[in-house]
Each structure stands twice: as C-alpha cells, then as structure tokens.
C-alpha cells in the first residue's frame, strides 16, 4: 500500500516539475508579450497543482488522516492566476506593447487600449 502511494506521488511530482519547466521555457522562447502570457498562466499553474497534489497525498499517508492544507494554496493560485493574467494583458494593451506582425484582429488593440473602467 505504502509503495503504491510513493509511486503515485513520484509520478505526480515529475508531471508537475515537467509542466513548471515547460511554462518557463515558453516564457523565455515565445515571440511577443501576448503569446508569452500563455505559458506561465496555464502550464505553470497546472504544474504547481500537480506538485501540491503530490504533497497532499504524501502528507495524508504520513499523518494517517486526510490533509487538505495544500488545497488552500492550489485553490488560491487557480483563482488568482487568470486574474493577474488579465490585469497584465490590460496593462500591456494600455502601454501599447508591440504585437506580432501576423496577429489576428490587431486593429482591435488600440480600441481596447482606449477603454476606460466603468464609472
């Protein structure tokens, strides 16, 4: 029983580490800001979710009772990652960060940059 839990946790940890790594490679290699925004907000969030799940499984086995502390962190990150990505995209539109040449609907970007918050 214990060895099965160890193997499950090891697989979850490696999955998480792989996705965190892919998120950072995407942050470094993608061509412009708006494509770069994709990598950390999706891949890294999934990776950290897997790592926290592994920690939850191991802590539950060690203490012999259900441990859901880590669920708080993953829930918090899953809620805040899209919010911060949206704020960053708004800030980038406001600053008129350069788009890729072949971005679709690029003519909408100046209009979005002019948009004010509702009074």
């Amino acid at each position: 029983m214990e060895s099965v839990v160890h193997i499950i946790a090891a697989v979850l940890l490696l999955t998480g580490g792989f996705f965190v790594f892919v998120g950072s490679v995407g942050l470094l290699k993608l061509p412009d800001f708006f494509t770069r925004l994709h990598a950390p907000t999706k891949a890294t969030t999934m990776g950290i979710g897997a790592i926290l799940l592994a920690s939850m499984v191991l802590t539950t086995m060690r203490d012999g009772r259900l441990s859901i502390h880590e669920l708080v962190i993953s829930l918090f990150l899953f809620i805040t990652a899209p919010v911060s990505a949206h704020m960053l995209a708004k800030a980038a539109l406001h600053r008129r960060v350069k788009l890729l040449d072949h971005s679709k609907n690029a003519q909408l970007a100046p209009k979005a940059a002019e948009q004010k918050t509702p009074e």
């Binding site: 214990e2 060895s3 099965v4 160890h6 193997i7 946790a9 090891a10 697989v11 940890l13 490696l14 998480g16 580490g17 792989f18 965190v20 790594f21 998120g23 950072s24 490679v25 942050l27 470094l28 800001f33 770069r36 925004l37 950390p40 890294t44 969030t45 990776g47 950290i48 790592i51 926290l52 592994a54 920690s55 191991l58 802590t59 060690r62 502390h69 880590e70 708080v72 962190i73 918090f76 990150l77 805040t80 990652a81 919010v83 911060s84 704020m87 960053l88 708004k90 800030a91 980038a92 406001h94 600053r95 960060v97």
Partner: protein
C-alpha cells in the same frame, strides 16, 4: 525499499527542474523588452518558488513550510495586482 528511493529521486529531479525554471525566469526578467514582461517573469518566479518551498517541505518531512508557501502566494498576487494597477492608472490606491 525501492519505492522510497524512487520517491526521493523524483523529489530531487523535480527540484532540479524547478531551479532551472527559476533561472530561465530570471533571464526573462533581466532581458524583458517591456516592463510588463518583467512583471510577468516576477509573477512566474514567485509561483515557482512556492513549488520549491513545497518540495523542501517534502524533502525534510516537515509541515512548517506550508505557511511560508501560503504567505508567498498571497503577497505575490497582491504585488502583481499593485504593479499592474500602477501601470494602468499611474497610482495604486486612488
């Protein structure tokens, strides 16, 4: 026990991957053509440091690191939100 060795190897390998990811983030933070790239790199940096702290807690078998990770998660989000707000409005609290 074989499975325990596999688990320890997985923890070490995952830590290595996360550390390499941190170095890539720092590279983007130093290079970033625009300030929004730097903020995005900082945001990723704090999320990856949460992963590293959780892995340290697993390695030491201690539950003490959890509070640190939670604190970093909250303060990191607040700092990203404040920086974006400053870029958007020129002020943080109006």
């Amino acid at each position: 026990m074989l499975s325990l060795t596999i688990l320890q190897g997985a923890v070490l390998l995952t830590s290595t991957l996360v550390v390499v990811a941190l170095i890539l983030n720092i590279w983007r933070m130093l290079r970033g053509p625009d300030i929004t790239d730097r903020i995005l790199a900082l945001d990723t940096l704090y999320i990856n440091s949460i992963a590293l702290i959780i892995l340290l807690g697993l390695y030491n078998g201690s539950a003490l690191y959890f509070e640190g990770a939670l604190l970093i998660a909250m303060l990191g989000f607040v700092s990203t939100a404040a920086l974006c707000k400053y870029l958007l409005r020129g002020d943080i609290i109006e």
